[in-house]
Amino acid sequence: MMIARLARRTGPPVAFGVGFLAFWEWAVRFFELKPYFLTAPSVIWSQFTDAFGLVRGAATVSGGNAFVGLVAGTILGIVMSFALSRWRLLNQIVTPLAVALNAIPIFVLVAVLNNMYSITSEIPRRIMVALVVYFIVLVNVARGLTQVSATHVELMRSYAASDVSILLKVRVPNAVPFLFTALKVAAPAAVITAFVSEYFGGSQNGLGSRIASNIANSKNAAAWSYVLGACLLGLLFYSVSVLLENVVRRGGGRQ
């Protein structure tokens, strides 16, 4: 029963994915596309398995940067959102700024950050990831802490509840789903920012710099194998954030 239901749900997208890869492979062979134009999936796969150690090494560097930045940005965002929900003036100053910064590609700032640290340092990349994550978490969690139901607040006041009680029993639980929404956006964004940050100099050790250097050297199959690694890393980050949500909110709210 459960297997049948799982098959019905995952069947169509899996079939589509396999069909897409088959079409890609067929098109490359049939039209005899040159490898620098488009590399066949089979070639990418064999390159990926042959050089798995290298891809994994690069993914560890980029993934590590993304992870450190994600954790730091999340913690910073949560702390700041509490401050914003507490002091209205601060909220009025910071929120429009955060929303505006969220809309522009601030990861180019890494070029500036690179000048502040030694050329082999991973710190600028991590700071960049943290900044991107920070704004996503800040805007969402601050919204969760402040947009509480008017009935809930009146109810708590009728119980003569203190501001601290209202924070702990109403605002914080109300913000939890907002935090996970933020994380589901921030986790892939952290990975992307980690890759892109590598384009602006520094050590040539991560997935982003490997993709760039392999393309520069016309080693397209190798570049594609790192792209595959990048996709898997992004997927891993997203899956973990979804899994985390399911574990923490297990039965706790409407899914």
Partner: protein, 266 residues
């Protein structure tokens, strides 16, 4: 002793500003212990404001509110009343039982005592098997029964209700009215009840307070005069219709006056 005493009560919002609203003017009202009193009137007549002044969720501009012989402020601090709103306002991240336990948590009761009382309240509202459910698994009427259970969990002597059945369908609504009367009789609770349904006010109340808007005033107090416990027959009794007519005339008289003043805002 009267449960609620209101003297010369005035409430003005945004006093002195361009958007000043004179919400209530010269309100005097006594609610006796164990009595069921409804506030009825068109929207904007200040009935919800009056309820919130009794609950001390708002501060009066002038006048006094006394609850159980104390100031409204003190009564709120002592949790002398329970409150229910049009929205059940259950916390969706808490189970039904944990929702009922919330006011007891804030009073600092220990876990076993809280659980005992919550189970007792679930029995009272006839939903004992739903303690571990989440609010969104319950129908609107069931959610509202849980909200009443929560409001009464700390055994307050006074229950303040702001259109609690306003969002329910007619069948559920009549069932809930019967349940509310049964629960209040069992717990000997005094009720101040805001509604804009005339039959609901008459069916539930010993007295119906008719209010008029701009500024909110009490125009008439109707003694319902239904004797004995309510039943389905009550809704067909002659005295029931008499009281409905009396309330309707109270509301209509006010409407006629408004038309005469060129203020028909129906």
């Amino acid at each position: 002793m009267s449960a609620v005493t209101i003297r010369h009560l005035d409430k003005t919002f945004n006093a002195g500003k361009a958007n000043e609203v004179h919400a209530l003017s010269g309100i005097d009202l006594d609610v006796a212990s164990g009595e069921f009193v409804s506030l009825i009137g068109p929207s904007g007549c200040g009935k919800s404001t009056l309820l919130r002044l009794v609950a001390h969720l708002l501060e009066p501009t002038n006048g006094d509110v006394t609850v159980n012989g104390k100031s409204a402020a003190q009564a709120r601090l002592d949790q002398d009343y329970g409150m229910a709103f049009q929205q059940a306002g259950l916390f969706e991240w808490r189970t039904v039982r944990k929702n009922i336990e919330l006011p007891l948590e804030l009073k600092g009761w220990d876990k076993t005592r809280r659980r005992e009382r919550a189970n007792e309240m679930l029995e009272l509202v006839k939903l004992p098997e739903f303690g571990d459910h989440h609010p969104w698994q319950l129908s609107g009427g069931m959610q509202q029964r849980i909200a009443i259970a929560r409001a009464l969990a700390a055994h307050p002597q006074l229950l303040l209700m702001d259109e609690p059945f306003g969002a329910l369908d007619e069948m559920t609504r009549e069932y809930m009215q019967g349940e509310l009367l049964r629960i209040c009789a069992e717990t000997k609770t005094t009720v101040l009840f805001v509604t804009h349904s005339i039959p609901e006010a008459v069916y539930l109340s010993q007295r119906v307070v008719v209010m008029s808007p701009r500024p909110g005033r009490i125009t008439k107090i109707v003694d319902v005069g239904l004797t004995g416990p309510r039943s389905e027959d009550t809704r067909n009794a002659e005295s029931f219709f008499r009281a409905i007519t009396a309330v309707r005339e109270g509301l209509r008289g006010m409407h006629a006056a408004h038309v005469a003043m060129g203020m028909d805002d129906r």
